[in-house]
Amino acid sequence: MAVTALSPVSGAARVVEHNALVFKRLWRGSMTVSFFTPLFFLASMGLGLGSLVNRSSGGVGGVPYIDFLAPGLLAATTMQTAAFECTYPILAKILWDRIYDAMLATPLKVRDVVIGEVAWVTFRMFLVASIFWIVMAIFGVARTPESLLAIPAATLCGLAFATPLIAFTATQKNDSAMGAVFRLVITPLFLFGGAFFPITRLPLLLQGIAWATPLSHGVALTRGLVLGTVGMPEAALHVVVLLLFVIVGIVIAFPILRQRLVK
């Protein structure tokens, strides 16, 4: 009997199937959170706080505050999803539950694990972004067919965090640095990365730092697509920057995970 190894696509698909089977138990709760969190945020910040902003300065950049806020928050939300999915769960599979050890005892390879996890987190972020878009539609922020492009744009933004974070997680011996990732990277970016106010309001140095992260590009792209204010060249630039983060992340993650798991 000739035994062949799995193709890269079917190998990665098996890893996705594993995650989907685990997710089957959690999806209702997860989707509920993905719906109500943006709903509350847009009601409180977008409408509540937004009414003050609109009265005092006529919105932001010529649009009502909620229109400014919602698409930026969408990009920041997929970033958070990426951070949750690519830190503790990945470390658990490496270290505590040793799911990867189990997988690698089969025809699956490290390559399948990396591609499978990236495919899975892409799906998760796509789901989160889609639900967010529905909430934006409810609030009348997403009005055009083009605004649907914000879903893949936000997914790409999250992915630009996901692959470097997988690489980072693969270097960790325990979860002590994970808290720091949230406190020092994810939360500051969430607050100051352009979702709540334009980054032009930041001191020049911080503006530079903001543009060096994927979030500002993700926010600019998503916002531009929802508001219909982004031109092709600018959109392409943001996409290229985000793709670079994704690719660099994968290229780094692969050898790190390989060294970690194949000893």
């Binding site: 009997m1 035994v3 799995l6 799911i99 997988m103 089969t106 025809p107 000893k263």
Partner: protein, 312 residues
């Protein structure tokens, strides 16, 4: 293509594994034939697990050659792994899934279609006596049940070779016997088993042939019986003395047996006739607290070869 019966299923020559400066496996040679139950016996740290991981194609060979099913693990790892069943030392079961889901998803890693995966899962749950627990989460299982589930999982791809790394370490006696019973049935079906253990009773019960490993090297190999005959005696007399009398024993037992081994808690006398040795001890005026005549075991073989006990 099926490997022909005359060729060994596993063949290692000068096989070595190094982690930085640490030599985990130091140039060992062995062959495992189809249908055989082959064991690596040795204390913790002897290099058994490193050897197993190389055979399982999850750990690259550092030196020497290794071939499994006539193939090279370095270039054909995934193809070899497709035909292996692995019971690792530490459980790698998925705590978030049910017992049955663990088997089904594992079957999928081997590209087994869903329907067939479900059929095999149910069949194997029956085999390892876990059918009633199939809907339970893994975290609710006892240690013995987890081990049996891991054995079932290792069989999901109908492997040509089953690798077991300390299959019963940490289990209570009853749970161990249940695992042994299942492994014995597999052996009778002709499944090739390779296992590591530091329990001599496990090695004696399950292994047709074994190698004794110590400090990264193979120090002896053969059938359990051959090893006992060669390195031990037919009978062993175990004596226990009151603690304060022990220092005076030094030469008192000279000549009573072929060999005398003074351990921390007892004295072992290697002889072909245990009863005669007892009589000789008594005739020298020695009064042990207790005496026991037993057969020579692999434990004695190990003690003879390395000067140390298997389980400290």
């Amino acid at each position: 293509m099926t490997t022909s019966d005359s060729k060994p299923l596993i063949s290692a020559r000068g096989l070595g594994k190094r982690f930085g400066d640490l030599v985990a496996v130091d140039g060992i040679d062995f062959d495992v034939a189809r249908g055989e139950a082959f064991g690596f016996l040795g204390p913790n740290g002897a290099g058994k697990t490193s050897t197993m991981r190389m055979i399982a194609c999850v750990s690259p060979v550092t030196s020497g050659t290794l071939s499994i099913f006539g193939e090279n693990p370095a270039t054909r790892g995934a193809e070899i792994r497709a035909r292996l069943g692995v019971v690792p030392q530490a459980d790698t079961l998925d705590q978030e899934l049910t017992v049955r889901e663990n088997l089904i998803i594992f079957a999928r890693y081997f590209d087994i279609p869903w329907a067939e995966a479900r059929r095999r899962a149910d069949e194997l749950l029956e085999f390892v006596q876990l059918k009633e627990r199939s809907k339970d989460k893994v975290e609710n299982l006892s240690g013995g049940m987890k081990r049996r589930l891991t054995v079932a999982r290792a069989l999901i791809n109908e492997p040509d070779l089953l690798l077991l790394d300390e299959p019963t370490t940490g289990l209570d006696p009853q749970a161990r016997h249940l695992v042994w019973d299942r492994l014995y049935r597999l052996k009778q079906r002709g499944v090739t088993l390779v296992l590591t253990t530091h329990y001599m009773d496990e090695a004696e019960q399950l292994c047709d042939r074994l190698v004794v490993m110590d400090k990264a090297k193979i120090v002896a190999q053969g059938t359990p019986r051959e090893l006992i005959e060669k390195h031990s005696t037919r009978e062993v007399l175990e004596l226990r003395f009151p603690v304060d009398e022990k220092p005076s024993l030094d030469h008192a037992l000279d000549g009573v047996a072929d060999r005398v081994e003074v351990l921390a808690d007892r004295v072992l006398l290697y002889t072909s006739d245990g009863e005669a040795a007892i009589a000789a001890v008594h005739s020298r005026g020695l009064r042990p607290e207790s005496s026991l005549v037993r057969r020579g075991t692999l434990e004695d073989v190990f003690l003879r070869l390395t000067g140390r006990s298997l389980v400290d």
